[in-house]
Symmetry: C2
Subunit: 686 residues, 2 copies
């Protein structure tokens, strides 16, 4: 690099990459040389409009750059033509047709709007640097020449190699019979969709269009056991143009994962039926996002899927039986790449599918995607990432080291083992507060704005009724009961309180708490509390094992993934001892982090390599094999924990003094053992 004024300094944002270039270098070339991804379909002909950038004006002292509009060459005829025909937004320039004249800070927008494409804003509109595995490449192919009788296809591939710097290039066999016609449709001008995922692999033409084809789409999808969520994104602008979800139709074969594995084991065509069900649902979702986005199904050229190991296997048509018992052998753990049509998802004939790697037999591609999205491996802080379902997938780590495990929490957090538990739906209690003096509760239900002690609540609630307690509120009510002194740190409801509150009800040898005296009557029973204790103890014990492996006694940051993570209040989760002590400011719901990770892999192939490398490096802990799991589990049965302290939580919440009920260790322990056997071994004996 030369330091004279003839080589201005150019800084690209948001990547922060910078370099000096000779005066007259096109901005696109400069970006390419620095490895800054700027989309371009037409290959510098100023026709596709994909390579738009803009100048950040001003003096950037930190970078030593005085950037100004006139440090770019003025509009040339090509750019003027584009502006006239298609319209260039104010301040935008076509980087292919604009030369560097002086120092510049160049912004590469991630949402280049071309041709007034339909854009709908999805919930989670994070912006990523892009570098999709499928690129649209416009070329002008030489006409046939009898003196040089290279085939039409061979000349197409030559042109693509020359103009787009592909070293090795093949073509999908389904295009062979079509190449000649497409080349002749617009006088040897075509746009090839080229799939080039791994640098070492041959790039492949997967679709071919006459003339300039200036759009292509991809889908990213998280196949959950309960819900399937799909996003449709432009591979060229990165924008998510539609999102849709549906319930997983496999539910009719079994609510939770293990019952679906059982279904496969018990029914000769169980695997086939389950695979067909999920693929049907996916095809329906594809139609839905296409309709929403006004996109043709054949314009989808790439797709990324994630799911837990059992969803992952069933989606790929693999029998998940081995995942039903030790050693929980995955058929395949590495990333899977295939043609979508090979797995019954017809879109374009050339559409590709990428499936993220699984971490372990119970820690799936969804956990890998969440890891990619939240990036514990990219930061110095020790981050805990938890996705709570019937199995909690737990990842703990930082840039130096990442460890992962799953913990058999069982379905309590989803309300399944709770007497008044129900799915989140109008009428379900979602927030609870208990007055520590009067022990009177107040609550909110889904579908009603007011709290139950506010005016207008009763009227508003008549529409929905007050029907039960949803998963997030179960955490809250137990935590509030603990904070109000209704239950001991061992989780026993203090029967003595029945004397001063009608809310404490006796049921034989145990007591319960009356949350709502209506129809139905909603109570929290001693068994409910035990179920929550077992579930949270399993989760916490798993987290502790990972902390042991990392040699840390606290975590810096916690991400709670999934729907459950979105709705629970981190404070109450910590009061219960479901998650370890942490600065509450640093405990965040991360939404559908798995879906976000899938979308990252769709829009940038570098993220595929990143998560493949990360998953290879993640150390997997099998909780069932760790002797200390039992010990951690027993300690975690207490609220918030028998041995661990919660100093940061204590700054915000006054935790009750430790008081121990007489029967907790003896009788309560016996009950726990019994429950454990009844639940079929899903939680360990303590």
């Amino acid at each position: 690099m030369n330091d004279t004024p003839s080589h201005p300094l150019v800084l690209f944002m948001p990547s922060g990459k910078r370099g000096r270039f000779p005066v007259g270098t096109s901005v696109l070339d400069a970006a390419r040389q620095l490895g800054v991804y700027v989309e371009s379909v037409c290959g510098g002909r100023a026709t596709c409009g994909r390579c738009q950038v803009f100048v950040q004006e001003g003096h950037f002292a930190k970078h030593g750059i005085s950037s100004a509009q006139d440090h770019l060459s003025p509009f040339g005829p090509k750019e003027e033509r584009y502006d006239r025909v298609r319209g260039l937004p104010e301040g935008r320039r076509l980087s292919c047709s604009t030369q560097i004249l002086g120092d510049l800070v160049i912004d590469v927008p991630q949402d280049t709007v071309v041709n007034a494409q339909v854009v709908r804003k999805a919930a989670d509109e994070r912006v990523f640097e892009r570098n999709p595995a499928v690129r649209m490449c416009y070329v002008e192919v030489e006409e046939p020449d009898m003196h040089k009788p290279l085939g039409d296809l061979d000349r197409l591939l030559e042109a693509l190699k020359r103009d787009w710097q592909f070293e090795r290039l093949d073509i999908d066999v389904h295009l062979l019979p079509k190449v000649q016609k497409i080349l002749r449709q617009r006088e040897w001008k075509v746009t090839a969709a080229v799939h080039h995922d791994r640098a070492a692999d041959s790039a492949r033409v997967i679709a071919l269009y006459p003339g300039l084809k200036n759009e292509a789409y991809g889908i990213a999808c998280d196949i959950g056991s309960t819900t399937i969520a799909m996003h449709l994104s432009s591979l060229l602008s990165g924008r998510t143009v539609a999102s849709a979800g549906t319930s997983n139709p496999q539910i009719r074969f079994g609510e939770d994962l293990m019952s679906r594995v059982s279904y496969v084991m018990m029914n000769p065509d169980g695997r086939e039926a389950m695979t067909a069900a999920v693929r049907d649902a996916l095809n329906g979702l594809i139609d839905k996002v296409c309709e929403q986005g006004g996109v043709s199904r054949t314009d989808i050229l790439d797709s990324v899927f994630v799911g837990n190991p059992i969803m992952h296997h069933l989606f790929l048509g693999i029998d998940p039986t081995e995942l039903g018992g030790a050693p929980f052998a995955l058929a395949v753990s590495g990333a899977v790449e295939l043609k979508s049509s090979d797995i019954g998802l017809p879109m374009n004939e050339g559409t590709r599918t990428y499936v993220l790697p699984c971490i372990a037999g119970h820690v799936g591609a969804d956990a890998a995607a969440a890891t990619l999205s939240e990036g514990p491996h990219r930061q110095d802080e020790m981050m805990l990432l938890v996705d709570i379902g019937t199995n909690a997938e737990i990842v703990l780590g930082n840039a130096a080291r990442v460890v992962a495990a799953s913990s058999p929490t069982g379905p309590a957090f989803e309300g399944a083992e709770i007497s008044a538990g129900q799915r989140a739906a109008p009428g379900a209690i979602e927030r609870v507060r208990i007055d520590p003096v009067s022990l009177e509760p107040r609550f909110r239900i889904i579908g009603v704005e007011q709290w139950s002690d506010e005016p207008g609540f009763a009227e508003a609630a008549t529409a929905t009724g007050i029907t039960g307690i949803c998963g997030s509120a179960i955490i809250e009510v137990v935590a509030e009961m603990f904070l109000a002194g209704i239950i001991s740190e061992d989780g026993v409801i203090d029967g003595a309180l029945a004397a001063r509150s009608h809310r404490i009800l006796q049921n034989g040898r145990t007591f319960s708490y009356l949350l709502h005296d209506g129809e139905p009557r909603i109570t929290v029973t001693q068994n409910d509390i035990r179920a929550i204790q077992l579930a949270k103890a399993a989760l916490y014990a798993g987290v502790k094992l990972l902390m042991d492996k990392q040699g840390v006694d606290h975590v810096d940051r916690i991400g709670l993934a999934g729907a459950f993570g979105t709705f629970i209040d981190p404070k109450y989760a910590m009061v219960l001892g479901l998650i370890p002590d942490c600065d509450l400011e640093k405990v965040k719901a991360v939404g559908n982090a798995a879906g976000t990770g899938a979308r990252m892999c769709l829009l940038n192939r570098d993220y595929r390599r990143e998560i493949e490398d990360t998953v290879r490096r993640i150390e997997k802990i099998e909780t069932a094999l760790e002797p200390k799991f039992q010990e951690h589990f027993v300690a975690a049965m207490a609220l918030p924990n028998k041995v661990d302290h919660f100093p940061q939580l204590s700054r915000v919440v006054t935790l009750p003094e430790r008081k121990q009920s007489a029967d907790a260790t003896a009788d309560g322990g016996a009950r726990r053992r019994r429950r454990s056997r009844e639940s079929g071994g899903a939680v360990p004996e303590v």
Copy 2:
């Protein structure tokens, strides 16, 4: 390399590769280090028996090697076990289990017989060095481990990479659902069929078998416009275990190539029907060779196809219309690689297909395969390779430079434009001699041993009749008429001879020669001779253009490919001036050279690279664009040629003095022009 006695010298035959190795090196390792291909399925476990070699004993002065049996380690327990269980032929050793103790000449047999496999000897049993694109690789896979939860497939791939030195390895998607079961069937011992064609490409597992799978097959096929020929070979021993042929069912859409292109152009589903017809025939042939060879269709894992450009396109499902007119644009000229199931040839789900590259619009993959087989590009001598059909494909060259062209010979050589012409079948005249004094002919017919003037001929011929003249005999009879002085060098039958022989018949303004006075009466007419002249002139003119390009006035060697080349007598072909002057010893029929080239590519992937490189380097001459073609054509209308001399032929055959008939240039020329128009421009105007 070390020169001390501790590093004996080992020479491998037939490759001739040699090197020094430390005492104790296994013969298999030594071969691998030198790049000598020795098959091995079990990976050195002494169970597959594929790596057999034997010692050539004696003193090899030329190499400075005294080779003896006891320069190999004695039988060890592994080899003894193999010999006991499977039987090792006398003198054979398992190279994996045998160590080098002293200097050796090691022979790697190309026909290792294992397990008494059925072997039938095919006509053309050339032996090639092998290095197939599909290899059978036995591995023992680690069992699943909860502490290292890598997927079953991932551990399989790891084992394959480790034991078989694959750098990058993928698996066909159809195997994903099967991997777990297959791995468990024989306690984690499996044989993977790995396709690895190009060094730079990822290798791929295309089939997977429990335990040791010690056999795999491939087919090589030449799709001719008239006949399809297929060979079934063991990929492990290299032996051809079955061969079969069938007529191309596309004949019902059109006898010659151009009429098939017309059919496609005129009929909406013409291409589909023609593609289906050839694929049906191929599937029938596959069944046939499998039955013959006692081989299961699913054991065929690789396949290689060649054909002329129109057969090549129709086989691949590509519309050949562009090949029907200038600029004769091939859809694809490079080699094509795909899965056989993608083109309607189901064998094993993973079976691969390789199609050789085409040289030009009229010089196909069959010509490329013939080139590979005969190797003009591998020798110093200037070799002419001719495959005669309705289009003659011509290749001329040596190691320095190869040029190629096609010439529109028309169907005369196939007997189609000859009044008494017929296909080669019992009763057809196949050999002719004419007494230059009496002008009396004698001939042989297909199906009868005797010549027509020998005792017993008449009786023998009653069974078949004497029905017509087949292609090869047309050459002979015209040449003999020329040698007997019946026709002039301009091809005109000398009417004056009618005075001294009843064999010369007058038909209006022209004469004919009575070859057989029976039922039917078989004559050679002036028109027949003109048709042969036009055809041979077209061929010779093409050859001359190539000789011009090469700057040579003679060729060193001539290979005549295909059925026509097998049956014509090179001497008569030269007398006619169909091929240039050459030492007759060096003019050879090369049989189905295209089929042989296909087989080479099946058994050794290096040949694929060789022919791809060669085709890229071959210079293509489009005869229609060359101004000198006309001139060469006119000169070549004469017998043997107006301007070229045949000194080497003259040493063997006394060519007639040049005598010119009065009407040859004027009247004969007019007739030629008329015929040319009638035949639709297939031959140029002269």
